[in-house]
Each structure stands twice: as structure tokens, then as C-alpha cells.
Symmetry: C2
């Protein structure tokens, strides 16, 4: 099968698998599906869960788009192409319980064609990162270990490289603070001396397949932990940092908003309830302060 059909099929079945697993765990809310079409070609399948027993808000979406290469895309990617194809799965989950971390993941494939419709470039990208409100070392280790294991089977050098890229990317530079405790992040995975495009596809699929085993055990472990209004307050403040990252720094979000993307699908990633206080700082020595210390200086977890 050609790569793009293979990967498209993969993201659609992964979307089903992830939504089903999350619904079963939540036991309350179900995903609501929104199909949309892109005027220039293609469309998407947005699935949103809200006000569940566990997930206060979340989205697990796929899109498969194609058409003439928009000028804004050429400019932002600094590439010359006549037309393009892009598909991907993207998810963000915001649990209500402040002891369950927020998670984000995205796996995607891009092709570019010349005026004769010949493929002139193609690459995979993706990653997944965790944003806890309270830090449990064992959770961070499990999340990273699961991704490392999936990456290691394709080459021991990959996890350290993509872990660092994740730390560098998901950073609120204006606060000198990481968004969370990282994970992996990679882009422009193209045929090179060691791997061809099919190798990268298998890598991308294995990393995507590691999402559920990296995250579900953390949800199961923390979902019974009771929380109070103070924990919630802190979670809402930290969610403000999540919004700051997505709206100020995230290239995908900004690109989408500035090129007439589907706003509701792009901003599906924003948390449901958020808070900003002026100059709020956690008590020295508190659990909240311990999280902040780690966000200031990313750690190696495995």
C-alpha cells in the first residue's frame, strides 16, 4: 500500500482505539464527533469528550487534507511545492482531578508535489508530552520509559534526541519554564542514510501506539485520589500556563489561527477552566513549588 494510504488508515483506526479506551475508563461521558470539510480539499473528524467522570475536556481528532499549496504554508515552512497532502492524529486530554496529568500527542505525515503531481518531498512528525499539576516521579518515569522502549527498537539514539527536542520546544520562554515534564517531539523525519520513509513510518506508528500504554496507567493510578479546592486552584493556574504556551509559542496553533484553519478544532486543546492571578507563587517547600523547580530545569527521567 502507498505510504499515505497506509498511514491514513492507521490514524483512523488508532483514533477509534484511543476513543474507545478513554470512554471505557471514563465510564461517564462519550466522544461527540464533528465531521468537517476543508474548503481547499479534504477534511477532518473531530471527536470531543467533556464533563466526564475523569475527563473534564478532551479531543482526539484526525484530519486528512490536501490541495494546492497555500502561500502561507510555503512561507512558514520555507518550501516550494505546488500541492500537498497532510494527515495526522492529534489529541489533548484535560482530566478534572488535579492529580491526573494533562497529556498531548500528535502524529502526522506530510507530502509535497510538483506541478506534474510528482512527490518531491515527504516526512513524518509527532510526539507526546505530559503536563502534571503534581509531580509523581514514578509517573514521569513510566511515561518516558514507555516512549523510550518504543523508540529504542528503531535505534538507541532516537529517544535522547527527541526527548531533548521536546524539552526545547514545549517551553514557555517568557517564564523560563517548561510546559510540563516533556516526552518526545520530532519532525521532518525523511529518508536518510540510515532509514527510509517506510522505516520512519513504522517508527511514527510505534510511537503513536505507545500513547495508550504510556498514559492510561497514570490515569488509573491517580483517578481515585481525592482532591480539594486548593489542588483545583493550582491546577487552574497551571492550565493558564498551558494556554500561554499554546497561544503564544505553539507553531501549529498559530499557523492554524493565522491561515483560517478551523478555529474550534485548533483551540480544542485549550483547558476548560483556567485562572490567572497576579504574581502568584507557591509556598516554598510545598508540592506545588517542587513541580515548579522541575519545570525550571528539565530532568532526565530514564
Amino acid at each position: 500500500m502507498v505510504t499515505k494510504d497506509h498511514f491514513t488508515q492507521f490514524i483512523h483506526s488508532l483514533q477509534d482505539e484511543i476513543c474507545q479506551a478513554l470512554e471505557e475508563l471514563d465510564g461517564g461521558a462519550q466522544f461527540v464527533e464533528d465531521l468537517w470539510e476543508r474548503p481547499g480539499g479534504g477534511g477532518g473528524r473531530s471527536r470531543v469528550i467533556s464533563k466526564g467522570n475523569i475527563f473534564e475536556k478532551g479531543g482526539v481528532s484526525t484530519s486528512v487534507v490536501h490541495g494546492p499549496m497555500p502561500d502561507t504554508l510555503k512561507k512558514s515552512m520555507n518550501v516550494m511545492g505546488h500541492s500537498f497532502f497532510a494527515c495526522g492524529i492529534s489529541l489533548v486530554l484535560h482530566p478534572e482531578n488535579p492529580f491526573i496529568p494533562t497529556v498531548h500527542a500528535n502524529y502526522r505525515y506530510f507530502e509535497m508535489y510538483n506541478g506534474d503531481g510528482e512527490r518531491i518531498d515527504a516526512w513524518f512528525g509527532g510526539g507526546s508530552d505530559l503536563t502534571p499539576y503534581y509531580l509523581f516521579k514514578e509517573d514521569a518515569v513510566h511515561f518516558h520509559k514507555t516512549q523510550k522502549k518504543a523508540a529504542d527498537s528503531h535505534g538507541k539514539e532516537l529517544y535522547p534526541r527527541f526527548k531533548k527536542q521536546c524539552d526545547d520546544y514545549f517551553r514557555n520562554h517568557h517564564r523560563e519554564e517548561a510546559r510540563g515534564i516533556g516526552g518526545t517531539f520530532f519532525d521532518y523525519l525523511k529518508t536518510d542514510e540510515k532509514r527510509d520513509l517506510e522505516d520512519w513510518m513504522r517508527f511514527d506508528m510505534d510511537m503513536a501506539g505507545a500513547f495508550l500504554p504510556s498514559y492510561l496507567p497514570l490515569v488509573k493510578k491517580r483517578m481515585k485520589t481525592s482532591w480539594n479546592e486548593e489542588h483545583r486552584y493550582w491546577q487552574e493556574l497551571r492550565r493558564g500556563r498551558y494556554v500561554e504556551f499554546n497561544l503564544v509559542h505553539d507553531r501549529g496553533t498559530l499557523f492554524g489561527l493565522k491561515t483560517n484553519g478551523r478555529t474550534e478544532s485548533i483551540l480544542m486543546s485549550l483547558p476548560p477552566r483556567v485562572r490567572w492571578d497576579y504574581n502568584s507563587e507557591p509556598e516554598p517547600g510545598s508540592e506545588e513549588a517542587k513541580l515548579l523547580a522541575v519545570l525550571k530545569n528539565p530532568k532526565d527521567w530514564v
Copy 2:
């Protein structure tokens, strides 16, 4: 007195006057002052009110900064200068009651010097805009009329010009929606054929002086209106749009965040509690829908 000293004195006494008037009206909370210094020269006086009877969160701040022209400033303004001086007053008020509108105002002065310390350019800027959650036509008219009256005494052509600039600027382009019902917005007010810098200073001061009379009557009129959780829910959703504008589109905010400005002072403008739902739309014919219709198509209020 030289212009910059005159205007600096003015913004400091206006800050005192505004804070005092707001505290008296609120009757609960008081402004807390934070003095800060800018490493490159100068500093500021941030004043924040929170959890008051009326004002859930708000800031009325002044800054007076100077020093060598940072490269980022040259680039963003597309100007060549050796050093600069800037001072201004900036305020945002987020009332708790959804029937009282949020308001923003900013009045500022900028000077640029060559290597010999000679002033090579100088201009005034500013404006004030209103963001209601429920639309009362008489409130919108009062807010605009008060600013128009202040502007008219300097030339009848000014209000229409700066009203339009405000509508054009405070716009969430990604939602094809205005942030609020506008007001005035102006920048780069320099000596021209009709007015010299002193004229523009008096204009800027008169516009700044119109802030309290434009806004306080609206607070007084709406502060006794009772509200329920549904009004509040809508207010929090709309505050999400306020955050989107400030973090995605507002030049001042982005410039500050990307050039190591004082993050807490810059983001003082963000609302205290905010909400994002997926694809939420008000009921057709509701008060909420009426507001949205006006935000889609800015109106002339006077």
C-alpha cells in the same frame, strides 16, 4: 516643562486618581503596589486589585523606561534610533458581575534619540475600549460619546478616525469577531501640518482624562444587577476570547513577552477565571446571541 516630564507627571497623578476612584467605588479591595526596575533603565509602578466587591481582578500601572534602543524594538518598529524614552499608563478592569463590562485603556509617549542624545522622533499613542458580556445600547453610547466629546475639542475628524482604528485593531481575526464594542485607538501622533507635539499631548491627556467619566457611570448603573451561574458561564467563555486576543493578536503583549518584558505586568491584563468549551454557541435570539451579532459587525454608537 519639557514634554516628557510633563506627561510623566500627568500619568502618575492620573494613576493615583483612577486607583482612588476605583477603590472608593469597590468598597472592598484595595490596590496593591509593586515597584519594579527595568535592567536596561527605568521601571514601573504596577497596581493590582483583586477579589473586590466589584473588581474581581484589575491593574492600573505606569511605567517610565529608557536606555539604549534594544534591537528587538528597532526591528519591530522598523526605526533607527540610538536610545529611547517611553512612559505610559495602562489599565484593565475585570468586574465580577457579568453585567458590568471589562475595560481597557492605555496612554503613552515615546521619544527616540540619536548617538548624540538629540531627540530625533517623538509621538503619543493610546486609546480605550469596552468589552461587555451583555449589551446595553445606552452604555455603549455613553462610553463612545464621552470619548468623542474629549476628542472633538481637538478636531471633529479625530473621533471617527480613531474609532475605526479601534474596531480594526481589537479584533479576533481568527473568529471574525471584535473583542468588544470598541472605543478609540491611536498611535504615532507626531507633529504634522495641523498639530504640534504639544497639541497631541493635550489631546492624549484629555482622552486619558475621559476614562473615568466614560466608565464609572456604567459600573454604578450595573453593579446592583443580580446575576446567576448562567450569566457567569457566558462571561467566562467570553473572557476566553479576551485571552485569545491578548495572546494571539495584541502587539504590545507579544512584543513584551518576546523581549523579556516583565511577564507578570504584561499578563496583568488577563481575566481571573476563564473557560473554553468546544463549539459553544448561544441560543438564537438570546441576549448572548445579540452581543455576538454586534461583535461580528461593529456599529457606530454616536
